[in-house]
Structures are given as C-alpha cells and as structure tokens.
Symmetry: C2
Subunit: 272 residues, 2 copies
C-alpha cells in the first residue's frame, strides 16, 4: 500500500523530498498550507503520517514545529535528513544575464546571498514558499524572472536550471521528523525525544540533566521554547541517544521536573 504523508508546502519542496526519502519513492503527499494543517490532517486521519522539518544545520530549529509537537500529541516515529542544495530556476529559454528578479522564500534568498551579490542589477523578491516561487515563475514569469528552488522542483515543474549549488554554505542540511497518528514500535530505535517543563528555580536544568549524564546517555540536542502567556519561561526539548537506559532515566527525570513527556522513541536514518 502506498503511504500518504501530510506535508506543508508545494510539490517539489524539501518537505516533499524528505517524505519520499523517509517513506519511499511511491509515497503520495497530502499538501497542507501550514505546518499546523499538516498536524491536523494526521490527527484527523486524512494521512497516516506527517513529515515536517525540525532543524536546519545553518538556520537552526524550526520553532513552530517544536510548538506543534507540544500542541498535538502525535508521536515521533522516525527522522530523516536532507541536504539543502539550491538552484536558480526559470522558464526554458531564459538567459541568466537577462534575469532581473529572483523570487523565493526570504530564508532561501538569504542562504544564496553571495550568489545574488555576484549578479548584476538583480532584485530579490520575497515569496511565501520556495517551491511555490518556482511554480509562480513557470506559470506567470517573464524572461526577467527566476526563482530559487530545489533540483527536484526543477524536474517536477520542467524548469531550466540557470545555476546549481548556489547556496552560500554547502554544509546545509535539514532534519525532518516523521509523526504518525498512533505510536509505531520501531525496530532498532535508539533515539528518544522528550519535552520537559522545569520548576522555576536555580539549578533546575542541571538537576534534570543528571539522570541522563550519569547513565552516559548522549544528549544530541536541547532546544528551549517560550511558554505562551508566561514571557521568558521555557519548555525544553531534548533528544537523547541510547534507548535502553533512556526509559529509566525518563522516570527519574519525572521526579525532578515539573512535567516530562516522551514525544517519541525511534530509529535514526542519517545517511545524507
């Protein structure tokens, strides 16, 4: 059976690439306008899975999705990593020298600053979505328009590639999480994601990390997020490697933290 995956954004986006990578090339995507709608779609059962970006190696965490993990109780059942390589795309026949406007999401424009600075008389134009900007240029662009998007978007929309690998920093990876409607027992799971609320007192984070540290569990990521309505208070998200001992550590953690929640226990796929 072909799995369906809810993603945010257009066909040809990096979320689309991640969905295929995590669940197979035959995977069908259910396009959602926002990350929240993707979580909604999985909650309602419109799609058994959702794939959302959680962290980029240059830009950092995608906060909104940390917040949605807290709001929706969808377990994390997997993760995958995608290398972000950006291309300058346009309608066939467009010449690089003629391009005067480059459309893309501000983040993508920002990641190609050196390349854009090397062009003459070019105006960056902010749009809502990277792959969407490619679609726009293909549908409505003139010979003066180009968009920044993925090589996959180029293939999907039949765009010409005017330049490849135009991102400033090639060490550009995005980590995506796979969420599901119900928990899946993963084979070979060795990563546990936790959400922690701490008491508002000195030393609380240090005490919370102790059960992990004394078992030699590797904390691969810690993220703090503001708590709405309580300015400058935070909830913490932890990724811990080594699932065997993690469950014992978690119950110990429950004694020192105000609240602890396991977001998922899953296998890591880090081939890039």
């Amino acid at each position: 059976m072909v799995p369906t995956v809810a993603i945010q954004g257009e066909l040809g986006s990096f979320s689309h690439v991640a969905a295929l990578k995590a669940l197979g090339d035959e995977t069908r995507v259910l396009q959602c306008r926002t990350f929240r709608e993707a979580f909604e779609a999985v909650t309602r059962g419109d799609a058994p899975y959702g794939v959302v970006p959680i962290e980029n190696s240059l830009v950092g965490s995608i906060y909104e999705n940390y917040d949605l993990l807290a709001d929706y109780r969808l377990p994390i059942v997997g993760e995958t990593e995608v290398r972000v390589s950006l291309s300058l795309l346009a309608r066939p026949g467009t010449r690089l020298q003629a391009v005067r406007r480059v459309h893309s999401h501000p983040v993508a424009l920002n990641q190609c600053r050196r390349f854009l600075a090397s062009l003459t008389d070019v105006e960056p134009v902010a749009s809502y979505d990277t792959a969407g900007s490619v679609w726009e240029v293909m549908e409505r662009g003139s010979v003066r328009d180009a968009a920044i998007g993925s090589p996959f978007a180029a293939k999907l929309y039949g765009a010409s590639v005017l330049a490849e690998g135009i991102e400033d920093d090639p060490q550009n990876f995005t980590r995506f999480l796979v969420v599901a409607q119900g928990p899946v027992t993963p084979r070979g799971a060795h990563k546990t994601s936790l959400m922690l609320t701490l008491r508002h007192e000195p030393g609380s984070l240090w005490r919370a990390l102790e059960p992990l540290a004394k078992r030699g569990l590797n904390l691969t990521k810690i993220e703090s997020r503001p708590i709405r309505g309580r300015p400058w208070e935070y909830v913490f998200y932890l990724d811990v490697c080594g699932s065997e001992d993690a469950s014992k550590a978690v119950s110990e953690l429950g004694e020192v933290a105000a609240e602890v929640r396991v977001l998922g226990c899953y296998a890591v796929r880090s081939e890039t």
Copy 2:
C-alpha cells in the same frame, strides 16, 4: 551628547523603538540594511552603540544575532524589552472595507493571522520589513493597500490607523541587546551572558551547568546554535543572573568546557 545607535531596518521599526528606550528619546539612529551591517557599523566606530533584537516571547530567539555576537567581539552592555503591538496602517482616507492587500514582513503577517482571517477578500503580501511596508504603502499604495506596523511607525509616517492591537497574542515582547565598541562598566549589573563550546561527549552540558547550579545562580536563558561546517554540533549561549558569584563560576566553567567566553555583564531594564 546625543548618542548614535546602529539598528537594522527602517525608521519606525521596533528596533528604533528599542534604541530610544535604551538610550533616550534624543538618540539618533544609523539605519543598516542587515543585522550584520549594524555590527559592522559599531565595529568601525560609525556608531558607538548597536541595538538588536535577541528574543521574542512568542517566536523565540533571533538566531542571526546570536551568531553575530559570536562573530563580532562587541560586548553586551545593556538590554531592554519592547512590547510588540501591531496596527493596520494605511494612507489617510483609506477605508478598512476597501483594503484588499495587507503588506508586511511574514513574521508580522503570521502574528496577525486571526485578524487577517476576519477580513473579507484580503491577500497578505510578504515584504522585507515591517516599517518598510508602511513606508511603501504611504509612498506607493492605493486605496486597496494597508500595512502592518507599529503605532510608532504610524506616527512617524503620518499613516492612518485602521485597527489597533491586531496581534493574535498580546503577550508579545521582544528583548533587545545593546552592544558597544568597548566594554562599559555597568552600575548595578547583575546579568552575565556567556558563550560555551562543549566537548562532544555525554554529560558535558550537565558538567558545565554544575558551577552555576551549586552557587544558586539563576540560568534565565539557554540557547543552542549550530556550528557552521559541523552539522549537529552546537555552541551554547547562557544568560546568568547574579553577577557577584558569576565570575567565579565562569572560571570554574572554563575547566570543564572546551571554550568559554563572556559576552557581557550588564544591568537589566525589564520595565515594559
């Protein structure tokens, strides 16, 4: 003498509001296109101070400025907090019912989703800058255009206020840092900002927090940022309250961390 402060963005931006609040109403601003240019301007001596946002209570940290604190060695000499209240602004004579396009930075558009959804037949249009979108609408807008911006921008550009307090969540604050060319000895300093690089081994964060915890120093903020070129490795930024003991804790910290750097020791102004 009237101080000059380098800020990113247009006149009427929240950075402009923060600069006046931190250094007085007479403060002159030096407008910079990017946050990096603001750091550059202070480094070169074009302005003795820079004021940059570091954290928003809803959106979270402004990562780029954490990275710039690392790149430039400008000490933090103060902080200030601004309540983010957003208004719908337009050219005088514009009626709310006639508005069809609302311009602003994607973050501001996103923070006013409920309000925008309450309007009929309105398209959000992404622009580079919040205050810049107000300026644009005042200069070139039609009776169908409005922009989301601060009340201060309205005053500065002579815009009509079509609606006030349109942000979804009123608990919306941004914390700004004041950086300077050289360190200033602050009176009543009690906050220390640190940058930590840890050894890549289990328990390293826990060991680093111990010198702070055992002195009862309050860790008010911890942020992790990716290290460029080393995907999924991080540098940590810590804000510690209580400057007396902090210096001893910092030297102890230096023994367990791979690297520790004091970014600043300063007084907090948290009246909002």
